[in-house]
Amino acid sequence: MAYLNEIWFILVAVLFVGFFFLEGFDFGVGMSMQLLGKDAHERRILINTIGPFWDANEVWLITAGGAIFAAFPHWYATMFSGYYIPFAVLLLALIGRGVAFEFRGKVEKASWIKAWDWVIFFGSLLPPFLLGVLFTSILRGMPIDQDMNMYAGFTDFVNLYSVIGGLAVTVLCLLHGLIFVTLRTEGDLRDRARKLGKRVLLIVLPVLVLFVGVSIMETDIYTVRPIITIPLTVLIVVCYVAALFFMKKERDGWTFLFTGAGIMVTVTMLFTALFPRVMISSINHTFDLTIQNAASGSYSLTVMTIVAISLLPFVLGYQIWSYYVFRKRVSGKEPMTY
């Protein structure tokens, strides 16, 4: 099969696009625990809006990791060992968040519930921030040597650009999550989610402008493939302006569509700028990891392509079905599972 390496780059990108779209809103809902939920009952409603979904959404990230391992072993090895501490913190956050959903409702004590609510908040805030830092610093370039090993210092991870990148991803997820809440709740909670959503959107727009500005200075996003990345950037802005428009009309479904599209186009743009590289070396561009030098052999890629193409439609099918089954709003008047 031809273009195997390209196909796998696209598949990995698709998995991350899916991940940020899906887990994006449940990270946002997790953050809204402390920003929107007034009491334990409201926070419980918020958790139950993502109750049946969050676990499957997180699997998109795990699958992306697995796909990178199988298709681009060097990318997997360089990235996970290079970003050792950020990944360790990310994992701790995801572990805490995951058990929090299950443990929270098991003991009816205010202090117990409160503690888990904070775990969910930080467990939902840290991952999008860290992943934002990860992707933007990859685009900026990291100190990768001729053996593909990355030896990065603190300022390689934490600098103006990566912090703005982390912030951008975080607010995009928060906004997306708030709009999801408007779709899954009723009454006062839904009204307040709309109101807060509007305010967050007014932060999103300048953050995006700032992000684009710093990207022009710090990366080659707009020089390496401007014919695609510039229109995509315009499209991102269009998405959020459209979201603002529908938000004012209180058309929640349409708003959600556009905050989701905004996230998806953003991730797509980052991957488009990265292509055909997968990790950029700040030492020397001959040390860059690409879809060619980081990849598995063609046999293995062929096998994995067949497996992925035959399984993905089913995965999408039953995930969509589960959203259909749980389409009714969570009112809080009936008993809740979590």
């Binding site: 699997v59 697995g66 050792y84 990944f87 994992l91 443990f103 994995m304």
Partner: protein, 471 residues
């Protein structure tokens, strides 16, 4: 402590901790699915109560299994990047398939099951829990495909200094896989069965909801016996295969320094001296090792010193003998625990048959203690398998020392080792606390909810009227 030590410590602690929950989940969800099937077929409320009560405990356990599993998948890249580069082409594929095929199934259908009691028609809801069960079995299969490659590398060529896959069929028909997979599955079933039996025994001692827990106990005792015998027979197959594929591990698990002679005796106890490379005292059972290795009462088994010479000739100078004491004793602990499990399930069935179960306090107390033994056997089994393979990560191809990430510093490792082990400790304490709480509450706390369920039995998901249940 070196970086290698810390990385190995982290791998061992993560894997052993993760593997407390994995077999328990695989076993419990299968039994819960059986109980729910009984409910749907026989339409008796007691089975629904069973599925719900044991299902609650399963979910607590499952949550910890899932989150520690993410770490399990990412730590190959984090701590073992040179390993990942060398084998990623072969080893990454089963991991990716595991995520695509198993993790998506499990996570989506567990959500449908938890939240779907009043949303889905009974049979569809039952199907959901079976799909979760199948998902956990798929997951075990694909991760064991990956592990079997480490024990017995097949289906690859060395190209550009790394292993590249050239035969996917060979990976999934790896003979090592087909002795390992049934062994792990039966072990998982035993873990779930003895957990339910032990908790039920505790409740019977306390004389709480005796009818409910007696029934749970009886269902699981049959499964426990099947599982115990399955573990033993598949274990025997594995030993026979080990003889051919990794004779050094076999010799180490027997603390057999020199060739055994024909017929080979099985060592029950040995005082092992790894410096002098000999045992100062042994208790032997004649013929038994020949039987273990070849299913007949003759045949000799090569010793470690002979194999060391062979391996030096084949792989160059080096120490190819794994930590003998650990391998030897973990094997004996595993086998001992397994035997005890078979013994316990036989008595349990006999007493149930004679209707003497709930009056036999000493046996019930014994069964509470038995909860621990499948866990001990599972851990000991993996310790034997993985430690016995040392010094290799991929047998005959790559050593553990060569596998480590060169760019991860001592400080980073120390940070992650400390933070993760602290996290495991906290999770273990919380989970134990929640388990005890739920068990003390008992199954009758389900009744209030069940009575409510009675009123909305027509739960067609396509009927808008059905959407007034739990959300």
């Amino acid at each position: 402590m070196s970086e290698l030590f810390l990385a190995r410590f982290q791998f061992a602690s993560t894997t052993l901790f993760h593997f407390i929950f994995v077999p328990m989940s695989i076993g419990l969800v299968f039994i819960v699915a059986l109980m729910q099937t009984l409910y749907v077929v026989k339409k008796k409320e007691i089975y629904k109560k069973m599925a719900k009560f044991w299902g609650h405990l399963f979910l607590l356990n499952f949550a910890v299994g899932v989150v520690t599993g993410i770490l399990q998948e990412f730590q190959f890249g984090m701590n073992w990047s040179d390993y990942s580069r060398f084998v990623g082409d072969v080893f990454g594929a089963p991991l990716a398939i595991e995520a695509l095929l198993a993790f998506f199934l499990e996570s989506t259908f567990i959500g449908l099951w938890i939240f779907g009691w009043d949303r889905l028609p009974k049979k569809i809801h039952l199907l959901c829990i079976w799909i979760v069960s199948i998902g956990t079995i798929f997951s075990a299969f694909w991760i064991l495909v990956a592990n079997s490659f480490m024990q017995e590398p097949v289906g690859f060529v060395i190209k550009n200094g790394r292993a590249e896959m050239n035969d996917f069929g060979a990976l999934i028909t790896n003979p090592q896989l087909w002795v390992e997979f049934p062994h792990v599955l039966f072990g998982a079933l035993a873990t779930g069965a003895f957990f339910i039996a032990g908790v039920s025994a505790y409740k019977m001692i306390k004389k709480q909801e005796v009818a409910f827990f007696k029934k749970s106990f009886q269902i699981t005792m049959i499964l426990a016996l099947i599982a115990g015998l399955g573990v033993a027979f598949s274990g025997h197959d594995q030993a026979k295969h080990l003889m051919k594929a990794q004779p050094m591990k076999m010799a180490a698990s027997e603390a057999l320094w020199k060739d055994s002679g024909d017929p080979a005796a099985w060592t029950l106890f040995a005082n092992i001296d790894t410096d002098k490379k000999e045992n100062s005292a042994e208790i032997n059972i004649p013929f038994a090792l020949s039987y273990l290795a070849y299913s007949k009462f003759s045949g000799d088994v090569p010793g470690m010193l002979t194999l060391q010479k062979e391996y030096e000739a084949k792989f160059g100078p080096g120490d190819y003998i794994p930590p003998v004491k650990t391998t030897f004793w973990s094997f004996r602990i595993m086998v001992g625990a397994g035997m005890l499990m078979i013994f316990a399930s036989m008595i349990g069935l006999y007493l149930s048959f004679r209707k003497k179960l709930e009056t036999n306090k000493w046996f019930l107390r014994f069964m509470v203690g038995m909860i621990a033994f499948p866990f001990i056997a599972n851990s000991a089994g993996w310790i034997m398998t993985e430690i016995g393979r040392q010094p290799w990560t991929v047998f005959g191809m790559m050593t553990t020392a060569q596998s480590i990430s060169p760019n991860v510093s001592y400080g980073m490792l120390l940070f992650s080792v400390i933070s993760f082990t602290t996290m495991y400790l906290i999770l273990a304490i919380l989970l134990a606390y929640l388990f005890i709480r739920e068990i003390k509450k008992g199954a009758h706390s389900e009744e209030d909810k069940d009575q409510k369920d009675e009123t909305d039995l027509s739960t067609d998901p396509f009927d808008g009227g059905a959407y007034h249940g739990i959300s």
